[in-house]
Amino acid sequence: MKNAVMIKSFPNGLMVLLDEKMEFPELLKEVALKFKESQHFFSGAKMALSLEGRMLSEQEEKQVVDTIIANSSLNIVCLVGKDEETNQAFFKAVEQAENLQKDNDGQFYRGTLRNGQLLETEKSIVVIGDVHPGASIISHKDIIVLGGLYGEAYAGGNGEEGHFVVALEMSPQKLKVGDFKYISTEKSRWSIRPKVQPKIAYVKNGRVIVEPLTKESLN
C-alpha cells in the first residue's frame, strides 16, 4: 500500500513505477499525493516521463499525466519507454522543444486591429491586416504591418533602439522606436483607397527616420 507509486529518475526524465494491483482511481490519488509532496523539488523542470509497472490504456495514461501536471509544476515534454533507443530520441525531443522556444521570437496576428484594441508582445510581430486609428501595437522587437498603419506603433518597447517598424502604408498617429518618437510632418490619414508605398521607420543618430522601403534600406 505504501509504495503504490514510486518515482525514480533516469537521465533526462522521470520514471514512475505504478502498482499493478491497485484500483485505478485509488492509484490516481496516490500519484497526486506523491507529486504534491515533491512539488518543490521538481519545480518547473522539463522532463520526459515513463510510466512502468502496469499496463495502462491510452485514456488511463492521459489521466495519470494530467494528475501529475495538476499536482506539480513539472513541464512534461513527452512520454517514453525505457529502452535506450527511445531514450535517445526522447532526449533529442527535449532539446528540440527547448530550442524551439528560444528561437521562436516572431509572432503573427491575422486580422484588423480596431479602435481601442491593444496588441502587446515581447516578440517581433507581423500584422496581416490594418491597424486602425486608436489601435496600438507594442512590441519589444520589430513590427511589420502588411497593411496600413494608421494607429500607434511602438517598436523596441523595452527601450532598445535597434528595432524597426515596416508598413505597406505608413500613416501612424504615433510612432516610437526605442525611446525616440517620430515627429511627423503630415497628419495621419485613414483613407478608403490607400496609396500603397511600403515604408520603414528606424532610429538613426538619435532620430526616427521614415523612408521608403528599398533594397538599400534592407541592408
Partner: protein
C-alpha cells in the same frame, strides 16, 4: 427560425433608432412577425419615432422584473398587424437590466417572432452590453464623419471580440 438583430453605432445621433424603425417596419410590410425592442433605458425614443408613445403601459424593465407578462408590454402597431414594439422604461437606468435577463427574455420572444430588432443605446457601457448579449447579428450604423466612423470601428472590434461574424 427567428433572428435577433441589434442595431448599434457607438456614437449617438447617427440613426440607430431611425434604422431600427424602418428596417422593422419594412420586414413587417413583407409579412414577417417583427418585434422592435428599445433597449435605451432612461432615454427612450423608439416609441416616439413609431408614434406609439401614448399607448405605453408596461415596459422592458417591468417584463424583466416580472411585474407583467411579456404580452402586456408589447404594443401592436395599427398600421402593420405583425409589427410590435416593446418600449423601454423612462424612469429607470441601464443598470436595471442585466445581460442574462435580456437573453432569457429574448429566448421567450424567439418562439413567437421571425425578427427581433434591438435598438441599442449610444456608448459601450452596460446598455450596450445588455443589447448585444442575446443578439445573433449586428447592424452597425454610421454617418460619414470621422468621429462616427472611429466609434463604429471600435464597436466592430468589440462585436468581433463577442463572436459576431462578419457577413
Amino acid at each position: 427560425m427567428s433572428e435577433v438583430i441589434v442595431v448599434t453605432s457607438g456614437k449617438g445621433g447617427v440613426g440607430k433608432t431611425t434604422t431600427s424603425a424602418n428596417v422593422g417596419t419594412g420586414l413587417a410590410a413583407m409579412g414577417k412577425k417583427v418585434v422592435l425592442i428599445d433597449t435605451d433605458i432612461g432615454l427612450r425614443n423608439l416609441d416616439v419615432v413609431m408614434g406609439l408613445e401614448n399607448r405605453i403601459v408596461y415596459n422592458l424593465v417591468d417584463v424583466v422584473e416580472g411585474n407583467c407578462r411579456i404580452k402586456q408590454a408589447l404594443i401592436r402597431d395599427k398600421r402593420y398587424p405583425t409589427l410590435y414594439l416593446m418600449p423601454s422604461a423612462q424612469t429607470r437606468d441601464k443598470t436595471s437590466v442585466r445581460p442574462e435577463q435580456m437573453v432569457k427574455m429574448l429566448n421567450v420572444l424567439r418562439e413567437q417572432f421571425d425578427y427581433i430588432i434591438l435598438d441599442c443605446p449610444a456608448g459601450i457601457e452596460q446598455g450596450f452590453q445588455n443589447a448585444i448579449a442575446g443578439a445573433d447579428r449586428a447592424l452597425v450604423v454610421t454617418t460619414p464623419e470621422v468621429s462616427a466612423i472611429r466609434d463604429a470601428d471600435r464597436i466592430i472590434g468589440i462585436l468581433e471580440a463577442n463572436d459576431f461574424k462578419k457577413n
